[in-house]
Amino acid sequence: MKRVYVNEEWCLGCHLCEYNCAWANSGVRFMTDALKGRKIFPRIHVEGDSKITFAVSCRHCEDPLCVKSCIAGAIRKEDGVVRINRDKCVGCLTCVLVCPYGALAPAEDGIMQKCELCLSNSFGEPACVKGCPNHAIVYEERGGAE
């Protein structure tokens, strides 16, 4: 299946992916209305040091530890996508404790949220990738099981 992959040598560290993610998942029509003057809680984040930057989001692992570890049974994998039921999540952060990629962070309300590839919002495909000016993240098929 298609996933978001990183080309770190092309990443500018501009954080646009974070803004596009927060906008896409806000449900608000215009970007300024959704983001201006607000602290954003995106589901992708740019990491790095003085030499390199790169964007990290859920890998939708073949064998997701978060799914197996969630104490509320709130995370599951459906059609290759690791999804969270925010209604069941109590914000214990066990998924943060186990994710080896550091891909998960809570939303503003302390309840977890995660990258679901924008498949359920109005964008229909990852907004982070669509808005990346330099193809430092791409959405494509690179093999592997579902």
Partner: protein, 410 residues
Amino acid sequence: MKRHVIIGNGTAAVGCIEGIRSVSAEDTITVISKEPHAVYSRPLISYYLEGKTDTERMRYRDADFYEKNAVDVRYGASAEHIDTEHGEIVLTDGSRIPYDDVCVAAGSSPFVPPMEGLETVEKRFGFMTLDDALSLEKVLTKESRVLIVGAGLIGLKCAEGIHGRVGSITVCDLADRVLSSILDSECAAIVQKHLEANGISFLLSDSVAKFDGNTATMKSGASVAFDVLVLAVGVRANIGLLKEIGGTVNRGIVVDTAMATSVPGVYAAGDCAEGYDASLGANRVLAILPNAYLQGRTAGVNMAGGETAFTNGIPMNSIGFFGLHIMSAGTYDGEMSEERGDGILKRFFVKDDRLTGYILIGETGRAGIYTALVRERTPLSEIDFEAAKKIAGSAVFSAEVRRKKFGGAV
């Protein structure tokens, strides 16, 4: 077609069911459930009392889980004996269930040390099950003075859960600090101070000498007046079923990495099992929910004829109280180094170029990167560990490692 029986209906049982079904759609599965409930998220009982969830959302799996997985659940049933000679599980009502293999996922039971006058306490509760939480809820009032015996994970989560609906909470423990199973003294002091700032009182290095109705006289001589008593001293693995048939038991039912016990055809998983701890390099009871699922799943796959091993289990905890998050993993063996910040303490334990464990207070973002270092026994000389201690992130790995992590299917 094989006949599988699972003794227990908690998280390990779910792992076992899903493990079996990942291999075989035809095998039969019977679950023996002492509790009259479909599987629910046990650690959520404190969140239930806090009003952060409800019994519907506490379902660990969908309402049609057993039906979809063709599982025959015997609610209210209890296994008394594993008859290995005839290949049958004998229930307490005398009925028998034939099996080809069985997974003991019987969990643990609260340990209540003998305390003088305990029977004179009218309102006393454990804090393990949903029914415990529901009965406790019934007696709590805004005026209740609650005494909790045990300052471990269960006792303190109970304190947080009931905090908003009672008058006062006192927690006592024989140990000299809170969360003594996962925190050292300095870390425990930070957490205790935070809990005290939220109105919880402590009596540490102290225990109840005698109960007399609504009064507890402590060994120290202190006297505590209370209305409601919660006993959260500790738990013991339910090992009886294996012990009585000569299976190898220690603190838990001893299992190999396939989750097989010493008795042919009998597996064990979850809080009742004593499996391999990769951070210790030896077996021990890892009574945490992720481990229960992973062990159960391993048992299930192997029972159904697949082949898998669970080799990288470690102790780990993510726990929060009144907005302060704490995470810990591993064994705390080796040389300690730390990072401090405003309201932040991070301690790392290193031995032989490996991270054996860590404690994080106040800053827990991306902690899974540390957990993976412990679990996978990553040589620290291969990463920039000094940078990693300051901030958890993937920049500390080589570009090649990152390419694998973020450039391929994982």
